[in-house]
């Protein structure tokens, strides 16, 4: 297309501009000056010209000016552009049109031959692309072109610009000026009237502005199109089109953040697809020296190039996470890469950018990076588990450096880690294996020398087979995996330990003032932001706690549960209770080691029950119910004193609790009484108590130790109060419990505490399940829909349906309306009668006979 056009042109092809031009060499001729002087009134706009924006727009590339000069052409081109779509990106034609003739010193115009090497042409095309001026490259029909060239010529002679060599920018400015004049003349000629000069110049300015706006929008559109093209090119043939990556990379640093983030995201999509499924290892020098086949060389080139591009991309991303406007897009890219290609090179820099982002103040970034790390943990197949270790170790390091003052999200991520259930068992097996080998060695020594050689051969063979098998099987090596998991687990528990310890040493004392501001940001998470998720994690991985750690862990938890905090804000009820629950879970999951009676935690729970305050949200109640379930309901062996103490305290406390919590406490009491028959003495109301309690019968209100409470010698009088509880379910259950000893049938408790609290919780308002009212004796006949049987508001509303309500209202208002109407009619009637009477009275004296029969 381009070449065809070139042929059609009547004059020689426009010469190319000299590449490098100095600013000093520009001369403005006298003719030029006089021309301006002569047409001074037309040239007024030159002084008010916004050179800055023009230069910005044209920016060293002369291709745009034509568009600036004749507007008609420009709009025609635009229409064409719209119809032609992207084809305009044809680069070859770009250069031809935009280069002006050179005038020699003698005043003759010289057209340069179009004979530049393809290299420069390409370069120009390149810059043309980058600067997005394809509009100009659009090819005007040759007729127009001719016209343009002619006008160029005519004016060129008048203008007398001596061009030895021109600077890019200056050139464009000068030319612009020239072309403005030309444009003026042309518009004059076209309008065939010299009258509207001023008008046209203001018109021009407005158009210019419009054009600028349009071109900005346009440019973005074009960049989008270009990015799409580059992207598809790379994806179609990555081996040959890697250069496009560099171009896209260039677009990333575009001044408009919208464009650059789009470029970043499209690069993300591209890398996700073209990155190979293995980690690239660049050849060593030695390997480079070796002679390789063509294909191998090609592959190596591709890999190294790709790696270089990728590295630059990542460096850019990491840098831009710190800049404000791009940080979100950069985070998205980094996390996207981490999720999609964690096996590839530079993972560590991705990780080291992502991990601190998990503590970012921006919730979007935080969520993105947390999700990325989580997906790393969940899809270990993608990277063979090594990334997990790195990530966890980085998190551990972060926690360490930040002194455990981080947002809880950082730690919550660890919850999605998955470990083999038989991690501990595996190590035992490995040990056994080691022993076996030692035994084998010992046996070997005894083997005769003659046989020794034979054995060695066999062993060698076996080893070979094993290695071959390992290579052949795609499965990751079990031992390797185990090593990685152990490493991960160590880091995780190290983090947890650190947090627990930091929670004991109150943050106020251990930290300097520098973190005070940061702590202020974490106020929403409470004084110990990380303790909650840390305890959750411990509960989840409790089966993996090794026996060596367990003692230390339990003693830490014990101190936390007992509220032994060095200064600072005391631990919340929830956290303390949570500690107890976690300790029980840990011990229960390691039962095979030893059955331990966690006395101190029972003491803590015993005292915590008193601390519980009924709150509007269920969270505290739920934790309490969980504590009751884990510590009292599920564990088997307690001594009688303790059970009795807990029964007594729960009964007393449930007098103050909401129905949900009270039921969960009562359910626990019922369960305990059924299991420990001896505790049923509590239900007997004889004086004096039992023999077992007589040695320590000090009933302390704040009694620290359930074992010393002497509850066995007390009476469970709370039940009789509870049986008059306002909630029917509570009172029913209380009566049921108090008759446990006398009734023969064993009532199976069907609910456990956590189920109970969920079932009976009254937090959403109203009783749950709703209460049945006693039936009323007098039934209303008129409004059958209103005879409410259920107190529950929702129920009753639902029951009397909308239709019925509407009917009722309608009849009611009908009556009202009738009354009003009636009133109005009556009034009218009265009026008429009154006027009639008046009329009669008037007529009577005159004795007139003809009366109007009706007045209205």
């Amino acid at each position: 297309m381009a070449s065809g056009k070139r042929k059609r042109k009547s004059h020689p092809a426009a010469p190319l501009l000299p590449a490098d031009v100095g600013d000093d060499d520009i001369e403005i001729s006298d003719e030029d000056v006089s021309f301006v002087a002569k047409n001074f009134q037309y040239a007024g706009f030159l002084s008010s010209l916004d050179t800055h924006s023009i230069t910005k727009q044209i920016l060293g590339i002369n291709s745009n000016k034509k568009m600036a000069d004749n507007l008609e052409l420009y709009y025609e081109k635009r229409a064409k552009f719209a119809s032609k779509g992207k084809e305009v990106l044809d680069t070859d034609s770009a250069i031809v049109s935009d280069v002006l003739p050179v005038k020699s010193l003698s005043g003759e115009l010289q057209y340069r031959k179009f004979n530049t090497s393809s290299a420069t042409e390409k370069e120009e095309a390149h810059s043309g692309l980058k600067e997005q001026k394809p509009l100009v490259e659009l090819k005007k029909p040759s007729a127009l072109d001719d016209h343009q060239m002619k006008s160029d010529l005519t004016h060129g002679q008048g203008d007398n610009v001596t061009v030895a060599s021109l600077g890019h920018k200056k050139l464009s400015k000068l030319e612009l000026r020239k072309e403005r004049k030309k444009a003026k003349k042309e518009t004059q000629a076209l309008s065939k009237g010299d009258t509207q000069v001023n008008k046209s110049s203001s018109h021009l300015l407005a158009l210019e502005q419009l054009e600028q706006d349009l071109s900005e929008e346009k440019r973005i559109e074009e960049i989008k199109a270009q990015m799409a093209e580059l992207g598809t090119a790379v994806l179609a043939d990555p081996e040959n089109n890697l250069d496009s990556l560099t171009e896209l990379q260039g677009l990333c640093s575009y001044r408009d953040s919208h464009v650059s983030s789009m470029a970043m995201l499209s690069l993300l999509a591209i890398y996700r697809d073209i990155v190979p499924g293995y980690r690239i290892r660049l050849p060593t020098e030695k390997e480079l020296e070796m002679k390789v086949s063509k294909e191998v060389k090609q592959l190596r080139d591709f890999e190294s190039k790709l790696l270089k591009c990728y590295q630059r991309y990542i460096q850019f991303l990491v840098k831009s996470t710190k800049s404000g406007s791009l940080s979100k897009a950069a985070t998205r890219c980094i996390t996207g890469l981490l999720e999609a290609i964690p096996h590839f090179n530079f993972r560590d820099s991705l990780l080291s950018a992502t991990v601190p982002m998990m503590n970012s103040a921006d919730s979007d970034c935080r969520k993105l990076s947390c999700n990325a790390i989580q997906s790393l943990f969940l899809n270990e197949g993608k990277h063979g588990g090594s990334a997990t270790v790195e990530a966890v170790e980085m998190i551990a390091e972060l926690v360490k450096t930040e002194n455990c003052m981080l947002r809880p999200d950082v730690i919550e991520v660890l919850l999605s880690l998955a470990f083999d259930e038989d991690l501990n068992r595996h190590s035992e097996q490995a040990q056994e294996g080691g022993q076996d080998r030692r035994v084998e060695k010992l046996q070997k020594k005894h083997v005769e020398k003659r046989k020794k050689a034979k054995h060695e051969l066999a062993a060698q063979l076996r080893e070979e087979v094993v290695t071959d098998f390992r290579e052949a099987s795609a499965m990751p090596d079990a031992a390797e995996l185990h090593k990685l998991q152990t490493q991960t687990l160590t880091a995780v528990f190290e983090t947890y330990f650190r947090i627990l310890k930091a929670s004991i040493n109150s943050p106020d004392s251990s930290l300097g003032s520098s973190s005070a501001s940061f702590r202020a940001k974490l106020v929403e998470y409470g004084p110990r932001p990380m303790l909650g998720p840390c305890l959750n994690g411990l509960a989840k991985f409790s089966h993996l706690v090794s026996v060596e750690f367990m003692g230390d862990l339990l003693s830490l938890l014990k101190r936390l549960a007992g509220g032994e905090i060095k200064g600072g804000t005391p631990l919340s009820f929830r956290d303390r209770l949570h500690c107890c629950v976690v300790a029980f879970k840990i011990v229960r999951n390691n039962l095979e080691a030893l059955n331990i009676d966690l006395r101190d935690f029972f003491v803590a729970l015993y005292n915590l029950i008193l601390c519980h305050k009924t709150s509007r949200d269920d969270s505290d109640g739920l934790v309490l119910a969980e504590g009751l379930q884990v510590m009292l309901w599920e564990t088997r062996q307690h001594d009688m004193q303790r059970v009795a103490a807990f029964i007594k305290r729960l009964a007393a406390k449930s007098l103050h609790l909401g129905p949900g919590e009270a039921i969960s406490a009562l359910v626990t009491i019922q369960h305990l009484l059924q299991r420990y028959k001896r505790c049923q003495i509590l239900l007997e109301n004889e004086d004096g108590g039992s023999a077992a309690g007589h040695l320590c019968d000090m009933q302390e209100e704040e009694g620290a130790d359930p074992d010393l409470s002497g509850a066995l010698s007390s009476v469970l009088w709370e039940l009789s109060l509870l049986s008059r509880h306002y909630h029917p379910a509570v009172s029913r259950l209380a009566t049921q419990i108090s008759s446990i000893a006398t009734s023969n049938e064993a009532v199976k408790a069907t609910l456990n505490p956590t189920e109970a609290i969920l079932l009976y919780s009254s937090n959403n308002g109203g009783f749950n399940p709703s209460v049945q009212l006693p039936k009323k004796k007098v039934k209303r006949r008129f409004y059958p829909a209103y005879s409410v049987k259920e107190v529950d508001v929702h129920e009753s509303i639902r029951e009397c349906s909308e239709m019925e309500a509407r009917q009722m209202f309608r009849s009611h208002f009908q009556v009202l309306r009738d009354i009003k109407e009636n009133e109005a009619l009556r009034k009218q009637l009265n009026k008429i009668i009154y006027t009639l009477n008046l009329f009669k009275a008037k007529k009577m004296p005159k004795h007139r006979k003809n009366r109007s029969p009706m007045l209205l």
């Binding site: 014990k558 030893l594 006395r599 062996q637 001594d639 074992d707 010393l708």
Partner: protein, 189 residues
């Protein structure tokens, strides 16, 4: 019968403290029901030495016991232990109830090893059903059956942590005294 002198008190309290720890306070400050009159401060329990044996009795009882001559008096209240010829204090099986109700650390025995312990043998790891958390080595432990009946007391041979890793045949607690002594050493008690 006389109150303990300082040295003896120290010996007795040290021994008791091994088992009951800080609960020793409760043991001493325990209000006595016996002989208490309404309005006045409750009477306390006290320790008395009689014929090298230490008794734990309420003050009211002690007062009443003064009516009996020293030679004729066999005992008053609960005998909790005796001083040996060399001046050391030993707890006796009769102190078990007192210790059991105030004990800090406990060991529960499996039913299979109950009899073995009642014959005066040490507690092996294999017989250990449950142990209180955080028992220190050489701490006094009260030994219970699984039905929570106190069987005797002894000294922990290993701490709880070490007990986890212990061999099944290793000793977990040394025997000191058990309820079997009521039969075996009827005359001595």
């Amino acid at each position: 019968m006389r109150p303990l002198d300082e040295q003896e008190t120290t010996a007795v309290f040290e021994k008791l403290h091994k088992f009951v720890g800080s609960n020793l306070k409760h043991l001493i400050e325990r209000p006595a029901v016996e002989g208490a009159t309404a309005g006045s401060a409750p009477l306390r329990y006290c320790f008395r030495l009689h014929k090298n044996r230490v008794f734990y009795a309420s003050e009211a009882l002690v007062k009443k016991a003064t009516n009996i001559s020293r030679e004729k008096l066999v005992g008053v209240g609960t005998c909790i232990g005796k001083f040996t010829k060399s001046g050391k204090f030993h707890l006796l099986a009769s102190s078990l109830d007192l210790l059991a109700s105030h004990a800090k650390s406990k060991i529960w025995l499996k039913p299979s090893s109950e009899m073995s312990f009642l014959y005066g043998n040490h507690v092996l790891k294999s017989g250990l059903a449950r142990i209180t958390d955080n028992v220190q080595q050489n701490q006094g432990v009260v030994i219970f059956s699984m039905a929570d009946i106190p069987l005797g007391f002894g000294v922990a041979a290993k701490s709880t942590q070490e007990c986890r890793k212990l061999d099944p045949t290793a000793i977990a607690a040394y025997h000191q005294s058990d309820v079997g002594e009521y039969l075996r050493m009827e005359d001595d008690l």
